[in-house]
């Protein structure tokens, strides 16, 4: 079966002919490790490795003795059987919690393999869950996101998607398109039975579909910001204290700080979590005229980073000679900060500015709050816990384009467009799909999921 194995784990999708085993807890040393077995032969395998286990006592943990096929004791462990179909994969499943020793883990897996199991490929458990209808493709995608979620917001969105929130939205959109298509087809095939084609009604349905697609697409940038992080760039003139502020916010001496203007040449990045959202903070070279070619490149990169950013933190030294501030960014929300406030010698805070002194710590709390508010605004509550991912965006854009182009003046032509939109949505939910797509989705999974 070269064909199947070269294209990932195709055979698993067509129903899981064999029984698989893998460690589901992360690699490395830990107190305990979880080993999963799934497939038709799970009962037989359990009998070989854990003779005392009663697979019929489902969903209850028991303390058992694990033995290798030649009878050697491996560990005393907790075993938890899940008879089909009430299991994660929908097949007979067994979870064994062993002590976290690398040898015990290896020996346990080898015992199952010796009894007839195959080592699972990446994402194979989830793939079987999809094949057996326990999860749809959209839910399965989110399993990976849920297990790798690092911020509260990522976990919240991924959990909602695993629970089917996004799947339901897609199903509703699909319903609208099917209704629309049925209306057109009915009018075409039954026009002799006095069923007229109601263009207005079709038009209404199309608008409804477009509204649904539009609402989902509106969550795309939010989805990207939650998944990949909100990009905030610090810009300002040379020596305005950007790197000092950067290090203060990150909580580490990441960027080199010196009293000389033009110290920072390249863009320096760091991750932090603000208001439950991942934030990618970038420190840049000071914006100013310079003859040094390296520094000039730094300025170019700084402008590029600012143009790509979701938000900009504009720093202007309070002792700055000029009062006119250049616009650093055109479209992005910008937080304007007067740095080195301790040198200002003024009490009155200029309108629209946040003031900060990294030296005295004055205003840093304020600044954090302002940053927090700005980030929250960036992942505004468009669509609640719904936030589509890149793959969804591409498919929905195809659907939107098809619907936009649907011409109902010739219903058979309009039907083609609606079919195109429907096809895009069905591919989205995995109803139809190419093997490439499935392999792409599951290749990002690690073994044991």
């Amino acid at each position: 079966m070269e064909m199947a194995s070269s294209s990932g784990w195709s055979s698993a999708l067509v129903g899981g002919a064999d029984t698989i085993v893998a460690r589901s807890s992360p690699a490395g040393r830990g107190g305990l490790a979880l080993i999963r077995v799934s497939g038709r032969e799970t009962r037989a395998l359990a009998e070989a490795v854990i003779p005392e286990l009663d697979m019929n006592r489902g969903w209850r943990a028991s303390l058992v003795e694990l033995r290798s096929t030649d009878g050697e004791r491996i560990d005393r462990a907790v075993a938890l059987p899940y008879p089909a179909p009430r299991s994660y994969t929908g097949e007979d499943m067994l979870e064994v919690m062993v002590h976290g020793s690398p040898w015990i883990i290896r020996a346990t897996i080898e015992a199952f393999v010796a009894a007839g199991a195959r080592r699972a490929g990446p994402g194979e458990f989830t793939r079987r869950a999809v094949a057996n209808g326990k999860l749809d493709l959209v839910q399965a995608e989110a399993i990976n996101e849920l297990t790798s979620a690092e911020t509260a917001c990522q976990a919240r969105v991924a959990r909602a998607q695993v629970e089917g929130l996004l799947s339901r939205e897609f199903a509703e959109l699909r319903g609208t398109l099917v209704d629309l298509l049925a209306e057109i087809e009915g009018a075409l095939d039954f026009s002799h039975q006095d069923i007229p084609f109601d263009v207005d009604s079709a038009e209404n349905r199309r608008q409804k579909g477009l509204t649904q697609v539009g609402a989902l697409l509106a969550t795309a940038s939010k989805g990207r910001r939650i998944r990949d992080g909100v990009r905030v760039v610090i810009v300002g003139p040379p020596n305005s204290g950007k790197s000092t502020l950067f290090n203060l916010l990150v909580g580490q001496e990441r960027a080199i700080v010196s009293p000389h203007p033009g110290t920072t040449r390249d863009v320096v990045e760091a991750d932090l979590e603000v208001a439950g959202v991942r934030l990618i903070l970038k420190d840049t070279a000071g914006l100013g005229a310079t003859s040094d070619p390296v520094e000039r490149e730094g300025v170019r990169r700084a402008r590029g980073a600012a143009a790509d950013a979701d938000a900009v933190l504009l720093l202007w030294p309070a002792d700055g000679a000029r009062d006119t501030v250049p616009a650093a960014a055109e479209n992005q929300p910008t937080l304007m900060v007067r740095s080195k406030w301790d040198l200002a010698g003024a009490d009155e805070i200029p309108n629209g500015w946040t003031v900060v002194s990294c030296k005295t710590g004055e205003g840093v709390g304020e600044l954090r709050n302002a940053l927090s508010r700005m980030v929250e605004a960036e992942v505004a509550d468009v669509g609640g816990e719904i936030a589509i991912a890149e793959r969804h965006r591409r498919a929905l854009e195809v659907a939107a384009a098809e619907l936009e182009g649907a011409d109902f003046s010739l219903p058979e032509v309009g039907a083609e467009a609606v079919r195109g939109a429907l096809e895009a949505v069905r591919e989205l939910t995995g109803e139809v799909g190419t093997e490439d797509l499935l392999d792409r989705i599951f290749s990002s999974f690690c073994v044991g999921k």
């Binding site: 067509v14 002919a17 039954f190 026009s191 002799h192 195109g420 093997e435």
Partner: protein, 621 residues
């Protein structure tokens, strides 16, 4: 032992006539066994041939050299193209026929074929030899041997007629059913299923109140179905009325007396051709239902009441009909009834309509679970042609679904499970835009010539026509117009629209504000064509864009179709296929990878595994 034939066709309905006609004209010695000579090519239900989907089949049968379209042209008394305001892909040519004349014309054709023998009698059994069917046995003791036998028994296998609480055995009004044959088929291991269909009452024309009925005329310029026909003409009008709300009450009060709802009928009827009692129960929010009144011929008083199919008791039928405006004093010539019958589950035949497990036996028409004269004729034609080709040892004729509605019909029947009588719709064809009646001859007439059923000279006449259309289309797509003052004025003059950026005629003609009538007169590429060809060219211009998408998909499917699955393939021995997929492959035994791909439960992954397996075994050998 009686005479020996190449082919015995059992039944002389629309499937039987096409099967026997095609085979005899291809040179085979054919016997047709019919219960009565006078019931050959009867139209036992509606008086119309063609329509949407069905008209597509009719056009294809005609292009291949079949008889139905030609006969309908001669028996037609009102011609109308349905969906005429849409593009050419969904035009549905339809003719109301004089039923008696249709039957007479077809009878004359069959009797005129020298290699064809018509035998009056009842087939009660099959002759078999070592598991193969080698002929038929008649009730009067006669036996006819043949290399192939085609069963086209319609609704006669185990037929039961229902009208209210009355039920009696029958294949059709006034005719006995066939009892023994069904048991014999079951004995051969074929799976039979129970289906149901129905027909409305017939009323006396002179008893209708025409002042209260709307009139429905045929087309102003009626078009024939067949390339063999020069012209046709309208001789009658039809009428239209609507059921009032009171009908709903009458039916609701008597619904317990309907065999459909009392449980007397177990067979499954077609959803899309529901009886009036079905409509009232299933669509209670529809207060009115349209009723068309269609004369069944020039010389007969009989009028078919399209829309009031029913098997309610006679007194209820009368109350319903008399409640309808225009029918208050209508006289019944015959009451509506339902018929329940055995059909052979079509998954048991191959794309050539031969039974997979019973050599020598093929099936066609309603006995395979279809509904309609055109579906029956298409299947009969294929079965007849393939019986001859198989006898000669030549390649069988199995049109693919991407090439024709005939292909869609057979493919759907053979590879899908069916719970109700199968009727053709344009929405069943995924490549609908490429399969219009306008392109039927271009697609299939060449096949008709190869089969020996179309004269080459007729092919060349038609070829000139489609070449002219294609030429006009490519000129319109190729010539670019510049928006200079003179050209713009000329375009406004020609078709009434302004344009500002360079465009081809094709792009301008696709616009919705274009005046097509004017364009047809003023643009030379169009004005040189006939009116019909002009509409075909302009209509298909608007399909551009979507057509490319279909051509790409067809390319892909054709590649898969090129990968044959060996007859001795053992799906169970291929690792990685799920049990469900293995079962599907074993049950349907697809001939090519394209057929396999369409089986239910077949995932892209399973197709890939199968493809890999075939590629490997190909390399081994």
């Amino acid at each position: 032992m009686g005479e020996a034939f190449d082919l015995v066709v059992v039944g002389a309905g629309h499937a039987g006539c096409e099967a026997a006609g095609a085979a005899a004209r291809m040179g085979a010695r054919v016997a047709v066994v019919t219960l009565h000579n006078h019931t050959i090519a009867q139209m036992p239900c509606n008086p119309a041939m063609g329509g949407i989907g069905k008209g597509h089949l009719l056009a294809e049968i005609d292009a291949l050299g079949g008889l139905q379209g030609w006969a309908a042209d001669r028996a037609g008394i009102q011609f109308k193209t349905l969906n005429a305001s849409r593009g050419p892909a969904v035009w549905g040519p339809r003719a109301q026929c004089d039923k008696a004349r249709y039957s007479e014309i077809m009878r004359r054709v069959l009797f005129g074929l020298s290699r064809l023998t018509i035998i009056e009698g009842e087939v009660i059994g099959l002759l078999s030899d070592d598991g193969a069917v080698v002929g038929v046995r008649l009730a009067d003791g006669r036996r006819f041997r043949a290399r192939s036998t085609i069963l086209t028994t319609g609704t006669f296998l185990g037929g039961v007629l229902h009208s209210g609480d009355e039920r009696r055995p029958g294949g059709r009004f006034g005719e006995r059913p066939s009892i023994g044959l069904g048991a014999e088929l079951a004995g051969l291991g074929l799976v039979l299923r129970r289906f149901k269909t129905g027909t409305p009452p017939r009323l006396k024309r002179s008893s209708l109140d025409f002042d209260r009925l709307g009139v429905q005329h045929g087309d102003r310029e009626p078009r024939p179905f067949s390339w063999r026909s020069r012209s046709v003409r309208n001789r009658i009008s039809c009428w239209v009325t609507r059921t009032p709300e009171r009908v709903q009450t009458i039916i609701e009060e008597n619904i317990h007396r309907s065999p459909l709802f009392s449980g007397a009928i177990e067979g499954v009827g077609p959803r899309y051709c529901p009886s009036i009692e079905d409509k009232v129960v299933r669509f209670p929010h529809h207060r009115e239902h349209t009723v068309f009144l269609e004369p069944e011929g020039l010389a007969t008083e009989s009028v078919y009441v399209n829309g009031l199919s029913t098997s309610l008791p006679h007194d209820v039928q009368e109350a319903v009909v008399h409640a309808v405006p225009g029918l208050e004093v209508a006289e019944f010539l015959r009451h509506g009834y339902a018929v329940e019958y055995d059909m052979v589950a079509p998954g048991q035949v191959g794309m050539d309509l031969g039974c997979r497990d019973v050599p020598g036996l093929a099936l066609a028409g309603q006995v395979l679970g279809t509904s309609g004269y055109e579906e029956a004729a298409a299947l009969g034609f294929l079965a007849g042609v393939n019986a001859v080709l198989a006898g000669r040892g030549e390649d069988l004729f199995c049109p693919a679904r991407e090439d024709s509605y005939v292909g869609v019909l057979v493919d759907d029947l053979v590879t899908r499970d069916h719970v109700e009588p199968y009727r053709m719709f344009t929405s069943r064809a995924e490549h609908r835009l490429l399969l219009g009646v306008d392109s039927a001859r271009e697609r299939l007439m060449g096949e008709g010539v190869r089969l020996g059923l179309v004269r080459p000279v007729a092919f060349h006449v038609e070829q000139t026509r489609w070449n002219a259309r294609n030429q006009a289309k490519s000129t319109l797509e190729g010539v670019c117009l510049n928006p200079d003052r003179a050209t713009r004025a000329a375009v406004v003059q020609a078709c009434g629209i302004e344009f500002k950026t360079p465009a081809t005629w094709a792009q301008l003609l696709r616009r919705q504000d274009v005046d097509l009538d004017r364009a047809g007169r003023n643009i030379p590429e169009l004005s040189s064509l006939t009116d019909e060809d002009r509409r075909i060219v302009v209509g298909s211009l608007r399909y551009e864009g979507y057509l490319d998408r279909h051509r790409r998909e067809i390319e892909r499917v054709r590649r898969l179709r090129g990968v044959k699955l060996p007859g001795d393939l053992d799906p169970g021995a291929i690792p990685g296929l799920s049990r469900e997929v293995v079962e599907q492959l074993e049950r349907h035994r697809p001939a090519t990878l394209a057929d396999a791909e369409r089986l239910p439960g077949m995932t892209p992954a399973a197709t890939a595994i199968l493809a890999g397996r075939l590629a490997r075994s190909g390399a081994d050998s």
